[in-house]
Subunit: 348 residues, 2 copies
Amino acid sequence: MSDKPERTEINTLGEFGLIDHLTNPIKSINKSTLVGIGDDAAAIENGDFVTLISTDMLVEGIHFDLMYSPLKHLGYKAVTTNISDIYAMNGIPKQITFSMALSNKVSVEALEELYEGIRAACKRYNVDLIGGDTTSSLTGLVLSVTAIGQGEKEKIVYRSGAKVGDLICCTGDFGAAYLGLQLLEREKQIYLSNPKIQPNFEGQNYSVGRQLKPEARKDIIEAFQQNKLVPTSMIDVSDGISSELHHICKSSNVGAFLEESGVPIHPDVEMLSIQFNMDPITCALSGGEDYELLFTIDPNDIEKVKYLPDIYISGEIVDASEGIKLHTKGGNIHDLTAQGWTHLKNKD
Amino acid sequence: MSDKPERTEINTLGEFGLIDHLTNPIKSINKSTLVGIGDDAAAIENGDFVTLISTDMLVEGIHFDLMYSPLKHLGYKAVTTNISDIYAMNGIPKQITFSMALSNKVSVEALEELYEGIRAACKRYNVDLIGGDTTSSLTGLVLSVTAIGQGEKEKIVYRSGAKVGDLICCTGDFGAAYLGLQLLEREKQIYLSNPKIQPNFEGQNYSVGRQLKPEARKDIIEAFQQNKLVPTSMIDVSDGISSELHHICKSSNVGAFLEESGVPIHPDVEMLSIQFNMDPITCALSGGEDYELLFTIDPNDIEKVKYLPDIYISGEIVDASEGIKLHTKGGNIHDLTAQGWTHLKNKD
């Protein structure tokens, strides 16, 4: 390869910018390709049904740290985070493929633990492991999971369907997985500086559990089905509510008005954020890895979600010209920036 | 994670042994899962059609060397080798996902080249790039490609359908990609020992091309369609004919009688193997990365392949009790061992 005079560093574009830059000239040829890059999962037409495909790559030292991530949990998390993307399309995950690159330092027993976690997640979510690839790595462990799901064509929910006047809803609570990670990182540093001090996670099971072994919201998708509710748009929250709400607004060409009081936060997050000298709402909006669902509904459907457990009304979709705003509990209105996970992480 | 007393090294099991060991307790739950682990691609039922899924992971330093693999070729090869698995099921590739983990040393311009190769392959094979994941790597480049294809349920060809009396057929020629790699490795070592000596690939375009930019046998699958031929079993040749024939025999519970004279070898391979002091048939049987098709047909279908270009009759399927044998040009009969790619590589 000849050296080229120009050299643009990747970090000048950012992750989303880089993907846009590389994939922008790509147009679909096959008419079965309903949606390609740019949603939680790709959608492929198969008669009245749609096949949904989502894929993630997890790299040791970037996405997980084997010092505090048990391999069983890692296998479980690798599966659940991927099928979360299928649920985010209002689909049902059916199959996964699991590939890994591994160094010689990994023993067969360690891989058995990893696969125990994969199998546990497959069982919990009724998903079949149908393939994969196993290869060598010169350094750390790399995992790649592809989830395959199915949905009825009329019921697939994209990021792009939000309309002015729609209600913004979310599930569960936010910020715990982020703070769980901060806790794990802090205890790791303490341990590294003095291996005689054992990690202290007392009373922090919730946040640590949310980080190490997240679940996907199968129950919510089933509740939608039972209540004949089809959201107008949906996304799963892997990078924090702010970032995901920006994705919905960009895809739907709308704005949003988010109520701070409508963002559910677990009591443990309120307490733990004080320890880390952080604002709980910042952790909730920008933390990431919650794997909850953020979605919009037609206001006429409000009765369908009002009495459903673990669903919260968090705001309203407005005209694009009004921007994306946060209405704080103190009564102030701020621009909601799309601070993702990475940004927050770099700040620490 | 508590340290366990037992520790089994991965290499005691080998790649196929390891996969068997980890995936053996896995049973499918969803009835749409027709075939999971153990064929070129997984097969998922969708009405009268079958969705085929195949995935590969490619690791820098293991599967490719950026010293001699241009990124454009690498992108092209990552796509073609995956869709070759879809053709090996007698299906038509329709979509791919492409994920990568990359270090900061990769520039945006380098990624543009990689994507140029991906796009070229997508165009050549009428495939849509529908998704993927882009993440950081602490070391080298890791690529993961998933190919999605479609086929008519009645025409999907598995590894398991070979019957006693079937004819063994193959396409193209064998051994060139392996020798191309030897050539690239040799010239790399010469260059490393004295950077003033430029690599010499004169007259070796064929073998080097087969290594760096392999094609998948779209033409053969189209010829099957036109001639209404459905092979009884099929596999693509990524690890050498020997290894692939063992896969077919194991899955179909049969034996095989392979004719050395029925294994096509390109004249360049005959010449080049002399340079490397190797037997051309060894390169053909155990070399790998040819991405040709190895398949079996009902003997009544012989007229359908006899006059098709680039298809060769190489042997016959026999009873499992007769084993897997090679009939040499010299008239000897040997056991055909399943020497894969890795084995050969380690020998050098």
